[in-house]
Amino acid sequence: MQFDQLLQYAVSGLSTGAIYALIGIGFSIIYNATGIINFAQGEFVMLGGLFTLTFLDLLKLPVWAAVPCAVAASTLAGLVFERLAIRPLRQPTPINLVIITIGGSILIRGLAMLFWGKDTHSIPSFSGDDPIAIGGATILPQHLWILGITMVIVAANRFYFYHTISGKAMRACSYNPRAAGLVGIDVRRMVLFSFVISSAMGAVAGIIVAPLTMTAYDVGIMLGLKGFCAAIIGGMSSGIATVVGGLILGVLESLGAGLVSSGYKDAIAFIILLLLLFLRPQGLFGKRESERV
């Protein structure tokens, strides 16, 4: 096994891992704000990619305009989802929430299939497909976009949660919703906002990965699951732990596919997920409940 080849696997693993990280943070943000595992999270990833396609092809927008429009459209979908599916539940039990988010994801996927069909679609890379050589490995410009955008989003996320009033208020809601209400924070609004942020992040992930992997109405299932796995590794942190979780998963997958067989690629995520849920349900880094964010 050559070093160059390992490097190659690592590089592509890191970029897929970054995608998983973004999706995983989306899971964590909603989980921390509400205690809900939003099984529809993957669908917003799918919507991001397919809306971009629509804005590019149908409306002939340039990439720089199509991407923000697609994020906005997917975010709107997230907002509507919270208002119609989550908020009306009074005193929801965990099982209600599981059912409603799974139901929501099936519905969104079905609508997407009606609208975009069952075909797989491709989206052009943001800035060409000329490979760049790093050491003995080659990397596509899109990989750089993925890593760069992920870093910016993770940093923005950190800034939001630790240095803005609104972000601190969202953390306050997750630590103690009753006390948050008593200081004047509108907890329901914050819940809505957590869905907005998460669907936006999911959409971004779906958009930046689409040029590499193609997209279709059902990509949300697998990507959502991988993101969930990243979040579990990260102990449902909406910060760096989940980023590391995503990167670990991405690299392991890529190495597994390269060194063993590409057939095992998806199995790796499931195995990690199961192992963690059995052995370290608090996540690889074992953060305590109260310090999740």
Partner: protein
Amino acid sequence: MLRLKNINTSYGKVHALKNVSLHLEQGEIVTLIGANGAGKTTILNTISGVTPASSGDILFNKQPVQSLPPDRIVKLGISQVPEGRQVFKPLSVEDNLQMGAYLRYRSREARADIHKDMENVFALFPRLEERRSQLAGTMSGGEQQMLAIGRALMAKPKLLLLDEPSMGLAPLVVQEIFRVLDQLRRDNGTTILLVEQNAKAALKLADRGYVLETGKVILEGAAAELMENAEVKRAYLGKDKKEIWER
């Protein structure tokens, strides 16, 4: 300033408040005493909109407020220091205080004004200033209580509701907290509704008091009178009980 008229509040089948009526005038300190489970916390939470009343009226400055959500109540000028402090443990002292001013940030009030109020809180509780970047959850019970009060003050309330601020605290800390309450009334004209099991200390500070038993107001009057009332003496100021409370 605040008037509750025939308030009934239930938790499912538990009828926790039965036709409770009480009132507070501007600048008063009123205490609410009663045994465990009497409904003291429920009264405060009903005022704050956390557990809405099933019937009755709550008027704040003559305006009906009984069906408003907690954030609107805070906006109107009623802040609660909840039972058991309920600070945001993983947030720093300073961030907790900022959260107290959340609505003021949202209404784009000048940051300098908010900052000045934080300095005022630090002046009331110098210990909070020393620990401004410490995580709230790592502070002692007394410090957390000070923080909970400071956080409520950051909203600039006209009416402050306190739920057993002396619970589990050493006598010296209790003294400090009661001194601050007195000072708040004197300097800012803040009206205070104080729930206490430490009836003696509360009646000493308060102008008036209400005694609550199983969801009903059974006695009300000037604090000095209640202190002399045989029934109150027996039930709430008795030697044995007092020792239990102070533990």
